[in-house]
Amino acid sequence: MTFIKKTLASSIAIAAAMAMATSAQAEISDGEVRIGYLADMSGTYRDLAGPGGLEALRMAVEDFGGSVNGAAIEIFSADDRNSADVGASTVREWYDTRNVDLVAGLVATSVVVAATRVIEENNGLGIVSGAAASAMTNEYCTANHIHWVYDTYPLANGTARAVVEQGGDSWFMLTADYAFGHSLEADLTKVVEENGGEVVGGVRHPFPTDDFSSFILQAQGSGAKIIGLANAGADTVNAINTASQFGVVEAGQQLAGLVVFLNDVHAMGLDATQGLLLTTGWYWDMDDESREWAERYYERVGTMPGMVHAGIYSSTMHYLNTVEELGSDDPVEVRAAMAKKPVNDFFSRNGYIREDGRMVHDMYLARVKSPEESTGEWDLYEILTTIPADEAFRPLSESQCKLIN
């Protein structure tokens, strides 16, 4: 009897001790912070985030120290192959089988729209660094994701307004024929008209298109001063290249690229892109802090980081800092806590997270340098002006987000 009592007593004691131990760590689920990185690793958007973004994520975790309050940080990644199917099912699997705490990366809009649904269903947390569509904090906003780096609203607003103010008041819209292109075209038209310009014509090209010759021809025939490129990625690159073949800029028209990234300009070369006006969320050479981080990234990856890479680092750091202070990785709590701290690091100036999940921060109007002005392979932009955080993004008063209304 005594033996059984002893065994029983010690078992209860052990059980109690274990319960106390686990409850002390119950704040960090499973004793680990798990970050899943989802991006296009091999397709059109590979250079926008891709493997480079994963490195930026790793840099943030390493710089943070590799663990949060004693809990290890685990990073895993998957290639979404630019497909909503693959992206959504990967995120679903991560929730069902790997207890993921944060979904990071999230690049192509079509993937992100589907993935954030899954994140919402699982009451998780996602930080969207890539997707361009401003709809992510508008019609598609959820309480479970934050849109970190940029969206089409400041891109369109910044660039278009600057162009019109410089005298580019007649526009021809070259639009990619899908939802993203249409919404970009709508945003652009609004800005152009608000600032006294006029849209004299436009054409919608199939998405994607390799051969822009006939569309460029129509743009030339319209006589508009500005050809607005309401498309992104390979389409924008192809359109710019074709325009240079047809001597568009020499003949006096100007191109306005709305969604152009550093890696695109680098790939196209300054010959084709010089003078192009664009809006960006960050530039590696804009100040000392940025340069310092960019150089570290360059050593690891071999190419200069763009705003998305920097944004991934910045958002991960902010997340880890919040988890540490809070002592918990519960997605809902973390999301609320992240919004209470401002975001001020080398990437984001005057940044903070709004109720609709939009992280607003200063944006910059830039001009692509000419080959003569550039002193190095990556010396590509000249920053012209800063667009303050509060002016750059869609005001809450115009928002259709369900969290606001």
Partner: protein
């Protein structure tokens, strides 16, 4: 009182009955495995395999048994998927099985139209017509507002089966998908082993002879086409409910190519070939996607394809059957 002797079976009939019993035992074993599977592997992955297996089986009915290579089967997968997805998202009162039924019916209808247009052609011309028709559907899906175009149709609710069984639970969803698969598979099995199936086989072996025997060959081919299209649509509809998403990937011609690959790899003209092929391809894609080798899926599948065409034209199941017959008969 007359004593009746039990009928003595001839050795041949005895062998036949034993073979049949073995076959049934085999089927029962597989069904049991299927019932237990979700406790061993991730159910959503299994459901993906089952949907693609059904898709491949449907395709194989046309290729392996009717001898028609369709290069546009993705159109039926997508039609089932989009119609079901749209109806279930827009009409919350609609139960999932009704949504799937209507989606499948849409695929059957499309199959009838496409079938009538393409049946008159043979061989490569038939394949090209199906490809062209599928491309037209692809264009339709891009342009039509209800599909969500590039973004796809997402947020499709899983709903409650028959009004009371919640499919949000992965396990419940799995058993439903398994039941759908079994239904489709059984339908194909019955079709193939029926008199209709025999005529199809005759047409595949020698069409002019079948014509001279008085069979309305076009009619038979059309029926096979419609059944194949309908089952492909069923696969697409079910897949949409599982993943709560329908997208252009389902309608792209690469999808048509993938189902050909699955069927060839598994074994054209065998009942289980497409299932094995689908399982292999989906598993391969899944394993590689999560590894640094993620982007070698394409070339690896290509190599398997080439090797199959050169040396394993009967596919995995076909080769296994050949070995079995050689060693056990």
């Amino acid at each position: 009182m007359a004593t009746t002797q039990p009928l003595e079976l001839s050795p041949g009939l005895k062998r036949e009955r034993r073979a049949q019993q073995r076959r049934y035992a085999f089927y029962v074993a597989l069904v049991l495995m299927g019932l237990v599977a979700p406790f061993v592997a991730y159910p959503v992955f299994l459901m993906k395999v089952l949907c693609f297996a059904l898709f491949a089986c449907a395709f194989n009915l046309l290729l392996g048994y009717a001898g028609l290579l369709s290069f546009g089967h993705a159109a039926f997968l997508a039609t089932g998927g989009y119609v079901t997805g749209y109806l279930l998202s827009s009409y919350p009162a609609l139960t999932p099985e009704m949504g799937i039924l209507i989606g499948t019916a849409a695929a059957v209808g499309l199959g009838a139209i496409f079938g009538m247009l393409s049946i008159r052609r043979q061989g490569i011309y038939f394949a090209m017509v199906t490809l062209a028709l599928a491309q037209l559907m692809f264009f339709f899906f891009i342009q039509a507002p209800f599909t969500g175009g590039e973004d796809g149709l997402h947020g499709v609710p899983r709903g409650e089966l028959f009004g009371f069984i919640s499919l949000r639970n992965n396990l419940a969803m799995y058993y439903f998908v398994f039941a759908v698969f079994l239904f489709g598979f059984a339908l194909i099995q019955r079709t193939v082993h029926s008199p209709f199936g025999q005529v199809l086989k005759a047409i595949r072996e020698n069409e002019s002879r079948a014509v001279s025997l008085g069979y309305n060959v076009d009619h038979y081919k059309l029926v096979a086409f419609v059944i194949s299209a309908g089952l492909a649509g069923l696969a697409g509809s079910t897949k949409t409910v599982v993943f709560q998403l329908a997208s252009l990937t389902d309608a792209h011609w690469h999808m048509s190519g993938e189902v050909i690959l699955m069927t060839l790899l598994g074994g054209v003209g065998t009942l289980f070939g497409p299932v094995v092929g689908a399982g292999l391809v989906v598993t391969l894609q899944h394993l590689l996607a999560q590894s640094p080798l993620g982007n070698w899926v394409g070339p690896i599948l290509g190599v398997i394809f080439v090797v199959c065409v050169l040396s394993f034209r009967s596919g995995i199941v076909g080769e296994v059957l050949k070995m079995y017959r050689k060693n056990f008969k």
